[in-house]
Amino acid sequence: MINHIKNKIYHVEVLPPKQDSEKLEKDLEIFSNKYLRVMNSGYCVCITDNTMGLLSFQGTEMIEELDLPVIPNQVMIHLNTFHTKDNLDNILDICKLKGIRYLLIITGDGSERLPKLRPSDVGATDVESVTSVELLKYINRKYPDTFVLGVAFNPYEPEEHELKKMERKIKAGATFIITQPLIERNEVVDRLLEKYPKIPIFVEAWMSKKLYLLSEAVGYEIPENSEFDPISTLKMLHKLYPGCGVYLSLLGFKTQYHLIKDTWV
């Protein structure tokens, strides 16, 4: 994953269509166009997994059904703990078959309609519920040397707790880290960088102007700033964190995509 930082390869988040889409065909076309655009730019397309507990189609089934090309270095699938065992194994098998190597393993957000993995599903005997740690262990055990597994870091959670959790994630086999979105320098992330100098770390840049959505995503109130300019903030993040990669969330493909071309210099 370090080559993504060296070669200035952006991670671009693409959200699959929601299950209740009333214009599915159109949404599939939009997804496909975004996916191909990211691929053609040489960036890494990152497909989310039921973000915020909202039922959406899986990245793997989108790639299969739409017959999208997979360049192993340019595709990352998010995978959370809200699946049935069969569904989880199916996703991992398709990833292996298609040559998708990068997985971002997260605990994720649940909802009424989403099943949750049980500890027995992933062979965990010492926990009451499955988190990203148990999922990492399971994938590394069942698919040794197949995937490059990353995890999320939330600097808005209590620091001590989050850093301890990160230790468990690294021990379970995580080899890269993506932070929650930053809109300025973050001291907790600075300390994360100090603690893990050899692990590739990607800071997430919030590309939407709507900061209240960020508050909802991280669960803490981020002060609204009417002057918030995502592109300037992205440039600032590159300066603040030159040794990090960048993950772009909620990037506007019509209004912003053409602007990011020369931002990582």
Partner: protein, 262 residues
């Protein structure tokens, strides 16, 4: 084995408003979804079909837009769907609804098992499943949490109740209503969803099922809603615990112990 799953499309909110004139739920402007309890009935139907073979059919009575919920059921593995939709069905209470569904089940023919969710989240009556059994004069088991055994002539189920469970054995054909504990409903796949968009869903009218017009819709509904009112607000006794995280944890522990929670 031929299985029919009865489903209902309901408003996607438990904050629905009641029309003061008609005493009915105001559905305008509210997104409609498949009744969450019915997703367990659909899943059980698909699982039983997968295990024992045969066919599983989904049936619903409602306006034309209820077709979306039928398609959702098809996207998770149901074989075919039928929609009962006509102005004459409008205003049906649970008695008229169960009469209509029972007539459709008779028309489908050779049905071994009918599965319903335990209740719909809009009316919360839990009457339609038992009503279908009454109209068909079939045996029924409500609040089923597990199908333990099934053969061509009988079914053994585990019924949940407040103090435990009952094991019931019934001859087929029969009607069961199911609770959440029975299974984990699968999430529709993209392949299933695309296939469901293409399938034909026949719409049956009163004549198609040989329904007695005096027994359907408003005319066939003996229920009269005399008055509706919101339930009284719940009184909660909230106590705010303040201090450092350790102090808060200690206070919380003390409070829980005082209340014999732990």
């Amino acid at each position: 084995m031929k299985i029919v799953v009865c489903i209902k499309q309901v408003p996607a909110t438990n904050d629905a408003k009641i029309d003061p004139e008609t005493k009915r739920i105001i559905r305008k402007g509210i997104k409609a979804i498949l009744n969450p309890f019915d997703t367990y009935a659909v899943e059980e139907g698909v699982q039983l079909r997968d295990k024992f073979g045969g066919e599983v059919i989904v049936l619903s009575m409602g306006p034309p837009k209820a077709e979306a919920s039928l398609r959702e059921a098809i996207s998770v593995g149901i074989d075919r769907a039928i929609l009962l939709s006509d102005r004459a069905f409008g205003g049906s209470d649970t008695w008229a609804t169960s009469y209509t569904l029972a007539k459709a089940i008779k028309k489908i023919g050779d049905v071994d098992l009918v599965i319903c969710g335990k209740q719909a989240i809009d009316g919360d009556t839990a009457q339609v499943g038992p009503g279908i059994a009454a109209h068909l004069d079939w045996l029924q088991a409500t609040y089923v949490m597990a199908v333990e055994e099934i053969s061509s002539s009988s079914i053994r189920v585990k019924r949940m109740h407040e103090d435990g469970y009952d094991i019931c054995e019934m001859s087929l054909p029969a009607v069961i209503t199911v609770v959440k504990d029975i299974n984990t409903p699968r999430v529709p796949s993209l392949k299933g969803r695309l296939a469901s968009n293409k399938c034909e869903i026949p719409v049956w009218k009163p004549d198609d099922i040989g329904a007695d017009i005096s027994k359907i819709g408003l005319d066939g509904s003996p229920t009269r809603v005399v008055k509706t009112q919101p339930p009284p607000p719940r009184h909660t006794n909230t106590k705010k615990i303040e201090g450092s995280s350790i102090e808060c944890a200690q206070s919380l522990l003390r409070e829980l112990r005082l209340r014999s929670v732990i």
